[in-house]
């Protein structure tokens, strides 16, 4: 499913509006331990996490993740946003919990 449709259907905020975000999302990975994300997340995944520090951008770049969805209304710092812009990694936000949004994403991708 295309990312803009997911953003619309799950009412996500786009935290990096300067970046284009028309990528294809084929799955999701939910987790906050960076080594696990690197080992388990695959290309095309939407990464759902509470982590919002600048290092998440490098993790997404290395793992080839489609976009990072930061949950519980947490907001990334200016440094994280700048790093995301440089690395062309889309950052999204939601006030929902990881559990709730992962369930909704799963349903959406399964339909």
């Amino acid at each position: 499913m295309r990312l803009p449709e997911i953003i619309d259907r799950l009412s996500l905020s786009v935290l990096t509006p300067a970046l284009g975000f028309d990528s294809d999302v084929t799955g999701g990975y939910c987790g906050d331990l960076l080594s696990h994300v690197l080992a388990k997340a695959t290309k095309g995944d939407l990464w759902i996490t509470i982590q919002h520090h600048a290092n998440v951008v490098a993790v997404a770049q290395v793992a080839g993740i489609a976009a990072i969805l930061i949950v519980d209304g947490r907001l990334p710092s200016e440094e994280t946003l700048a790093r995301a812009k440089d690395g062309k990694i889309v950052l999204l936000g939601t006030t929902e919990s990881a559990f709730a949004i992962a369930a909704r994403l799963h349903t959406l991708l399964a339909t």
């Binding site: 960076l34 080594s35 080992a39 290309k43 520090h53 290092n55 951008v57 490098a58 290395v62 793992a63």
Partner: protein, 150 residues
């Protein structure tokens, strides 16, 4: 490619590895190999930042058949390598675990994403890790080309 990684420089953690992955891709290394080399570099880079006394070097060499990632520091050294290689074992400080590092999977990930993995360490001297990642995707592509021409 050779990068100097500073101890404690968490703000730039992963930056060298992200650059390495993109440079490998630009150099024509296949996507799977570039990703594996990126993961190995990332874990090694973070180890230098979180655990080394004075930082160290992260070097990447591209060979026709493989990518070699090498990490070297000057201490403190690992007391028990087998224990350090145990999934989930970590001596990471709280500030690192709060950020999602220190899952005890760093060296394990490096080994799992390499075809050859060597670690040497001596207390008070330093640690050297060498990972060899075979360019399997490129082999396949090359074999395909050879097949077409024969």
């Amino acid at each position: 490619m050779k990068y100097a990684i500073r101890a404690g420089d968490i703000d730039h953690g992963g930056s060298a590895s992200a650059r390495i992955k993109s440079e490998l891709t630009e150099a024509g290394v296949d996507a799977t190999t570039a990703r594996r080399a990126g993961i190995v570099s990332f874990e090694g880079e973070m180890n230098l930042i979180v655990y080394s006394d004075d930082g160290g070097t992260l070097s990447v060499i591209v060979e026709p058949d493989a990518v070699i990632v090498e990490l070297e520091d000057t201490g403190p050294g690992i007391e028990d390598i087998d224990l350090a290689m145990t999934p989930g074992y970590s001596t990471a400080p709280v500030w690192a675990t709060d950020l999602g590092f220190g899952a005890g999977m760093g060296l394990v990930n490096m080994k799992q994403h390499s075809d050859g993995f060597e670690i040497q360490s001596q207390i008070g001297v330093g640690t050297k890790v060498t990972c060899r990642i075979e360019r399997k995707g490129d082999w396949k592509r090359r074999r395909g080309r050879d097949h077409e021409t024969t």
